[in-house]
Amino acid sequence: MVIRLENLCGGYGRKQVLFDINAEIKTGEIISIVGANGCGKSTLLEIASGLMKPISGNVTVDGEDVHSMEGKKRAKLISVLSQQKSPGVLTVRALVYHGRFPYLGYPRRYTDEDRQIVEEAMQTAGVSEFADESLSELSGGQQQKAYIAMLIAQNTKIVYMDEPVTFLDINYQLELMNLIKRMQKSGKTVIMVIHDLNLAMTYSDRIMAMKDGRLISMGTPKEIYEKGVLGELFGIETHYSKKENQYFFKKL
């Protein structure tokens, strides 16, 4: 499976925020989109995932245009953890069940398979113990986990995440990264916008580095490090410690 972004331009109203993005992503890759605030990362994610139409250019998965796909079909192929989430009035379990929405026919009956997938997704995301709590009464971190459980239940080949570690403590951040690795092993492609450069550099196969709405570099963390891209993006100095296999950052 190949995801192709071709000459993508995008924006809101008259304001263009994305300029001529080209990229090719293969099955099973973990991709991190990094860049300073307001550089168009989230816009790129929304357009690539099919939530928002581009001004020009197109996004294809195996040659099929994502933006002309029927909604439910797209939702069975691509899931999105959005940055803007409302708690709504429902329990965690009810939320996770909505992950099965694209698979529901008429009448709206959940199958045993749906039920099993939902319970497993809640286990995996670690939300089973508060499955019956109302979403609006949970902390930001618990809500985030609940949404991740919904994403797992949606069970798509391509997963987009916008700031997935927001509100999460360090322990769960790492747990989520391991989960993303497991998703990769099961053949999924994960593309995320992430502010934490350490996580991005450690867990991604490739990095998409963005500046002022343009993709200025795309490559493995090692290539990005060697080219000094992060310095250009954020005005920082990057240091790699081979011993700890870890990147360190310092303000210039």
Binding site: G71, K72, Q84, D132, E137
Partner: protein, 342 residues
């Protein structure tokens, strides 16, 4: 039940108990509404009259006066409460309600306009009210969706639009005093002197509206998660939201067409229900319909018996009960962790 679809055990039980209480309250309010008043009618006579309309005095009171009134208040209460739930979810704003964002006034304006232009066509009123509600909901919605408009802006815009429409209602009643003989009752909201004839076809709108709300409750839940999440789940957000808005406007418009500008029902009732029902929209809508019907019917009963033989208007009673509750709500929300995140 290993994989229960809805919430399980204790919380589930609590919700079901609450819904049962709402149903019992509705039945109580209907019985009391029919039996209490200037003439007390034994409950047994009510049932007798239901089975066999025997033309006795009590039977005549029941069919000509009490029952239309009780049916009207149940319908109006249920419609406004369900409309409130819908609008709150669609706009992702817990403070939205048909009366607050001007929908009732829009329905009222068109209803009064229809009365002025076509004085003898009662059957036109619900449709006119529905169109008015729809146009207002559309206007407020466009304002709400405009980039950067906060939840506060939405409520302010609604209040502004509502005030303008109220001015319009007053203008019409000034120039066409005959259009609305009981214009004061209409503005405050009342079901006094209603007949079964005036409830048609409004009752059809209301039953269809509530049915649609329940059928699309799953979608309403997803819509309340935000546009992006809804879209990522493959939902046709624009279409579903349009259907929901039409449903909400239909319900509010139908209620306004025969009961006037009843306010606060669409706000208070969903909020009380939200306090107890947290598992999703289906139960929220169901419980709101029952409780809304019960609340308005009880208020109407109070409006008749509190100062008998004088009658105060239904809307006044609702305000006396609704406003303190609303103030309590505002005060409680302020420090809450999910306040207005506009």
């Amino acid at each position: 039940m290993k994989y229960s679809q809805t919430i399980s055990t204790e919380k589930n039980k609590k919700e079901l108990i609450f819904i049962t209480i709402c149903i019992v309250a509705l039945i109580m309010s209907i019985l009391l509404g029919v039996c209490l008043g200037a003439t007390r009618i034994p409950v047994s006579d009510f049932f007798k009259a239901l089975i066999d309309n025997d033309d006795s005095t009590n039977s005549r009171i029941i069919y000509a006066v009490r029952l239309p009134r009780v049916v009207a208040s149940v319908l109006a209460g249920a419609a406004l409460a369900v409309s409130g739930v819908e609008i709150q979810s669609i706009l992702e704003n817990p403070l939205a309600a048909p009366s607050i964002i001007g929908i009732n006034s829009g329905a009222g304006f068109f209803a009064v306009l229809a009365m002025a232009l076509f004085p003898n066509k009662f059957s036109l009123i619900p449709t006119a009210a529905f169109i008015g509600a729809m146009l207002t909901v559309g206007a407020v919605y466009i304002i709400a969706r405009k980039n950067g408009a906060s939840k506060i802006t939405l409520v302010l815009a609604g209040i502004a639009v509502g005030n303008l429409l109220n001015a319009g209602i007053n203008t019409i009643t000034t120039f066409f005093p005959d259009a609305l003989t009981a214009s004061n009752s209409f503005k405050v909201g009342s079901v006094a002197g209603i007949t079964f004839g005036k409830l048609t076809p409004a009752w059809i709108y209301i039953l269809v509206g509530i049915a649609l709300a329940i059928i699309f409750s799953n979608e309403l839940d997803i819509l309340a998660l935000g546009d992006k999440t809804a879209k990522s789940l493959g939902m046709n957000v624009k279409l579903i939201r349009f259907i929901m808005l039409i449903t909400a406007a239909m319900l509010a418009g139908a209620a306004v067409s025969f009961s006037g500008l009843l306010s606060f029902v669409g706000l208070i009732v969903p909020h009380i229900v939200r306090f107890f029902v947290k598992s999703g929209s289906r139960r929220l809508i169901t419980a709101s319909a029952f409780l809304g019907g019960a609340f308005v019917t009880f208020c109407d009963l109070l409006s008749r018996v509190l100062f008998a033989p004088y009658e105060i208007q239904l809307g006044i009673v609702i305000s006396y009960i609704g406003v303190p509750f609303f103030i309590y709500l505002i005060m409680k929300k302020k420090g809450g962790k999910h306040g207005d995140k506009a």
